[in-house]
């Protein structure tokens, strides 16, 4: 599968247009054969407030006799033309119909909220920051408020860390994180000063991949630069990036470089194919996680493909940079759909990447094939537990050197039903002690804890996890999420591993 070793990294850092505009590499075909271009869902991204005419919208409006009819429902036009309409066809309640120009119809979600406040009690930010009004306000309440045109999005939306625990807490399946993402996107798009330090800082944090791709060209220099005394303090002064954090080291060889050097896949198997979505961190910072994924999957007889890919969008969603996220999503969906067409399921080793592809993508974007990507995406350990007899494979195995781990389940794993899988998987492996350090949030939530003004809150949220880690037997941390790992390391000084690394060691892959 050599064509999946094709690497776009070569063109990566040379385009100053990466962050703005279309970052499609020159010479790359606009679309890959086999991926349909047009369809019902080829709409402008549905999150973005209508900042321009949708194709044909003007003429539609002019021709629509109901267009200037007074709205009866908070400005929301009836999808079916109101009571004049004879057929009430439920299919007519399509979100793109209700809000011309492409807004999300979150009414069902808002109506499902019965105000039990479970979301607020599950919110790690509200627990330390009384200025944050909580997910119930940010979601259904704010959604109702802004039905009237003259209401701005409350600035407090930027304090939501997008941990998405409220989704898991809501007994009524209100799409809270979708509402937050939409409100945050609107806030950033319409209300945030684009020249403000905060905007620039958030844009930088969101586009970690862009900077990591440059730093990776000169990893040693970049690593040294972040350790220059005062460098991080300067970052705090100039940009508002938390100066107390240690910048993660860049690998001297990225995962993709390693993949290319090893000649791509070592196993060919048209019946068992997976497309690996490594995300940014396993590529630039912890390629050992990506290598473990490849070796473990090859051990189980899978042909691993590594399609071209960009950021999953997780940090962009958290900062309301939805246009950036959309651009990256287009590349990801295009390449992943192609891999799916070749029989692969999509595997991510980062639980935030997998959650983004599965949940946020179809919730926020209409891109052709995005539903297919969502339905075919799994987290790495989850997929093996479903499709392989992992229990049988691990029964009777023993780790050469006994090791105890303090395991933290990332919030984003929780939403996918994965918060216990590492503990359960390694329960039967001899010599491994896997202790769950509890259900608290690590506090870093991707970029949240990197912000100067949020740093202390982030450490306060994390305090419970740090305590439980110290109490746990193990002196090595374990988690699926790279930023949780940063926080665990930052708070305790422990080395932190990914479950795939332990699995690699256990099965001797």
């Amino acid at each position: 599968m050599t064509r999946h070793t094709d690497d776009e990294d070569a063109n990566e850092a040379n385009g100053a247009n990466e962050m703005d505009g279309d970052d499609r590499d020159e010479g790359e075909p606009a679309a890959t054969p086999g991926v349909p271009e047009a369809g019902r869902d080829e709409q402008p991204s549905i999150f973005v407030p209508d900042d321009g005419a949708v194709e044909g919208a003007d003429s539609d409006l002019a021709a629509d006799p109901t267009a200037d009819r007074a709205a009866t429902d908070g400005g929301v036009e009836s999808a079916t033309g109101g009571s004049d309409s004879t057929d009430l066809d439920p299919d007519a309640y399509d979100p793109v119909d209700v809000f011309p120009g492409g807004d999300l119809d979150l009414r069902d979600g808002a109506d499902s909220c019965y105000k039990c406040t479970s979301c607020d009690t599950s919110c790690p930010v509200a627990e330390v920051d009384e200025e944050f009004p909580g997910p119930k306000f940010q979601g259904p309440e704010q959604w109702r408020l802004k039905r009237k045109d003259d209401h701005d999005i409350d600035e407090s939306i930027t304090s939501c860390s997008n941990c998405m625990r409220c989704d898991d807490a809501c007994p009524s399946s209100v799409p809270l994180s979708q509402m937050h993402n939409e409100a945050r996107g609107q806030f950033v798009e319409e209300q945030m000063e684009k020249l403000s330090r905060e905007y620039v800082r958030n844009r930088i944090l969101s586009n970690y991949r862009f900077f990591a791709s440059i730093a990776s060209k000169v990893p040693r220099l970049a690593n040294a630069a972040t350790k220059i005394p005062g460098a991080m303090k300067l970052g705090e002064k100039v940009l508002g990036i938390a100066g107390d954090r240690e910048f993660p080291d860049f690998a001297t060889q990225t995962f993709r470089e390693w993949w290319k050097a090893r000649g791509g896949a070592q196993v060919e198997n048209p019946d068992k194919r997976v497309a690996y979505f490594h995300g940014c961190y396993s590529n630039y910072n912890t390629p050992e996680v990506g290598k473990a994924m490849v070796r473990v999957y090859e051990h189980f007889g899978y042909e691993v493909m590594v399609p071209p890919q960009k950021c999953s969008g997780t940090p962009m969603f958290a900062n309301g940079m939805l246009k950036d996220a959309r651009r990256h999503a287009e590349t990801n969906v295009e390449n992943l759909v192609e891999a799916i067409g070749e029989g692969a399921d999509v595997i991510a080793s980062c639980t935030s990447c997998s959650l983004s592809l599965r949940q946020e993508y179809p919730e926020l974007f209409d891109i052709h094939g995005i539903e297919d990507v969502s339905e075919h995406t799994y987290e790495a350990l989850e997929y093996l537990r479903i499709n392989e007899d992992l229990e049988g494979e691990l029964a009777g195995t023993e780790l050469a050197d006994e090791q105890a781990f303090a395991y933290h389940a990332p919030c984003h794993a929780r939403n996918q039903g994965l918060s216990r899988q590492a503990v359960e998987t390694f329960r039967d492996v001899g010599g491994v002690q896997m202790e769950d350090v509890g259900d608290s949030c690590s506090g870093i939530s991707g970029t949240y804890g990197w912000k100067e003004e949020k740093y202390e809150k982030s450490m306060e949220i994390g305090a419970e996890m740090f305590d439980h880690m110290e109490d746990a037997e193990g002196e090595v941390g374990m988690t699926e999420c790279p930023t949780c790992a940063m926080q665990m390391e930052h708070g305790t000084g422990y080395e932190v591993e990914h479950p795939l690394q332990l699995l690699e060691e256990t099965v001797g892959a």
Partner: protein, 459 residues
């Protein structure tokens, strides 16, 4: 390939946890799958068994014609329920024959409570007696309950020591003076005063109770004073607010707070406040968001872990995938759009009732969405309810019927499947809200369903 276990429990509340642990203790390999984080976080944290026996016949015959959905037309009149009951066990026989307590028996309730006592340890009180305790609750009423958090112990309504109830202006849903007034009106045997103090004002209005609990847990500085000390200082001037029958001032011996006195370190917070105030300190159980519920959830999920039960939340079980010879083989779990089969030798359905969303309803009828089990109901939607809001509402008793071994039954009263059991709110026949029996029904049916499922799975 299916994800397999001996017993699969569907649900995450009290009944599901009870069934899972009961099955695990019988030696079964158990997995629990819950769609969302446990609804225990919405629970008061009180463990009710049976507080009242509500009337099932109106005082005067139901009027002719369909109910009128609350319009003021010739309302039906219902006698007050019998209670509060001193002894929940002796009243079981007076419940309707279709009540789950009648089906599984009072002994199941006793065993369920024993299991709970074992799991709750010293965090709960009330196991020393069969009798109900009377506890003041958030609304100012007094509630009969079988087990209660140690944090609420000093608040018992049967205690005759004078009490102060503390409230905060910023906690809008809770008025301490009205609360104290209601307790007095209820005829409690102690003098009580309510006082609103300045403490939570340091936080902005609508601050979450979890925020205040955390501040007390960590004794964070509030305007320069450690939180626990600040709270004690705010309360201290009111320690002589209670007035005795003769009009004399007396110093209160116990002080009640809304239940936000810490989360992880509640014991330490209460002890320090008691020390500073020279009075016992207790928490008044609240509706959601409920810290006693959250604490109970934490404790019971730790117990699941200790018992070796595997559990996951985040994805719903959406239906039966394969069945053979009258038994379910696998159910489908919706993992973000992709259905994955979960196999087991026996299944326990514990998804809750109408509020817990274990039952689904629309204008056509009420259904159980996971196994498609039979839910008995009048064909005419207007017979689902009666006019009197506090009457014997038929919908309150909707649910799946079970046999004495906890097996879910079909319309003919036979086992719907050989290996499907049901427990908790999904089981019909109880009017838990009026009876104050929700936890007890979950414990009694949970322990029966869990044990029988384990027997079925390991036979």
């Amino acid at each position: 390939m299916a994800i397999d276990s001996d017993v699969l429990v569907v649900g995450g509340g009290m009944a599901a946890i009870t069934a899972a642990i009961a099955a695990a203790r019988e030696g079964a390999d158990v997995r629990l799958v819950s769609h969302k984080a446990s609804t225990l976080r919405q629970a008061s944290g009180l463990i009710d068994a049976l507080g009242y026996v509500p009337a099932t016949e109106p005082a005067k015959p139901l009027r002719e014609g369909p109910p009128t959905a609350g319009r003021e037309l010739d309302r039906d009149e219902w006698p007050d329920p019998e209670g509060p009951l001193a002894d929940p066990f002796e009243a079981v026989d007076r419940l309707p024959e279709s009540h789950p307590y009648r089906t599984v028996g009072a002994d199941a309730l006793r065993e369920g409570l024993d299991l709970f006592d074992d799991l709750a340890g010293d965090a709960y009180r009330g196991s020393h007696t069969d009798n109900n305790a009377l506890l003041p609750t958030f609304g100012g009423s007094v509630k009969p309950t079988a087990r209660y958090p140690a944090a609420a112990e000093a608040g018992l309504a049967s205690d005759d020591r004078p009490a102060l109830i503390v409230g905060f202006r910023s906690l809008t849903e809770y008025d301490a003076r009205a609360f104290a007034g209601r307790l007095e009106a209820a005829g409690v045997p102690f003098d009580v005063a309510g006082a609103e103090v300045e403490f939570a004002e340091a936080f902005r209005a609508d601050t979450k109770v979890t925020r205040i609990a955390k501040a007390l847990d960590h004794d964070e500085a509030i305007d320069g004073v450690p939180a626990r000390e600040a709270l004690a200082k705010a309360v201290a001037p009111h320690l002589h607010d209670a007035v005795d029958e003769a009009g004399g001032v007396e110093r209160v011996e116990r002080v009640g707070f809304p239940a936000f006195l810490g989360d992880d370190r509640g014991d330490a917070v209460r002890a320090e406040l008691a020390d500073r105030l020279g009075a016992d300190v207790f928490e008044i159980p609240m509706g959601p968001p409920s810290l006693p519920g959250l604490r109970l959830e934490d404790r019971l999920y730790d117990a699941l872990d200790d018992e070796g039960v595997r559990f996951e939340t985040g994805n719903p079980v959406v239906g039966v995938e394969t069945e053979a010879d009258g038994a379910v083989e696998t159910v489908a779990v919706d993992r973000k759009g992709r259905e994955t089969p979960y196999g087991a030798d026996a299944f326990v359905l514990a998804t809750g009732g109408l509020v817990g969303k274990g039952l689904d309803s629309d204008r056509e009828g009420v259904s159980e969405p996971v196994f498609g089990l039979h839910v008995e109901q009048p064909a005419d939607r207007y017979e689902w309810f009666v006019d009197d809001a506090f009457g014997d509402q038929p919908y309150a008793r909707f649910g799946v019927r079970i046999g004495e071994d906890g097996r879910a039954l079909d319309a003919d009263g036979d086992a719907a499947y050989e290996n499907v059991f049901a427990a908790g709110g999904i089981v019909g026949g109880a009017d838990a809200a009026r009876e104050k029996s929700a936890s007890g029904v979950s414990l009694a049916t949970g322990i029966v369903a869990g044990r029988q499922a384990a027997t079925e799975a390991t036979k």
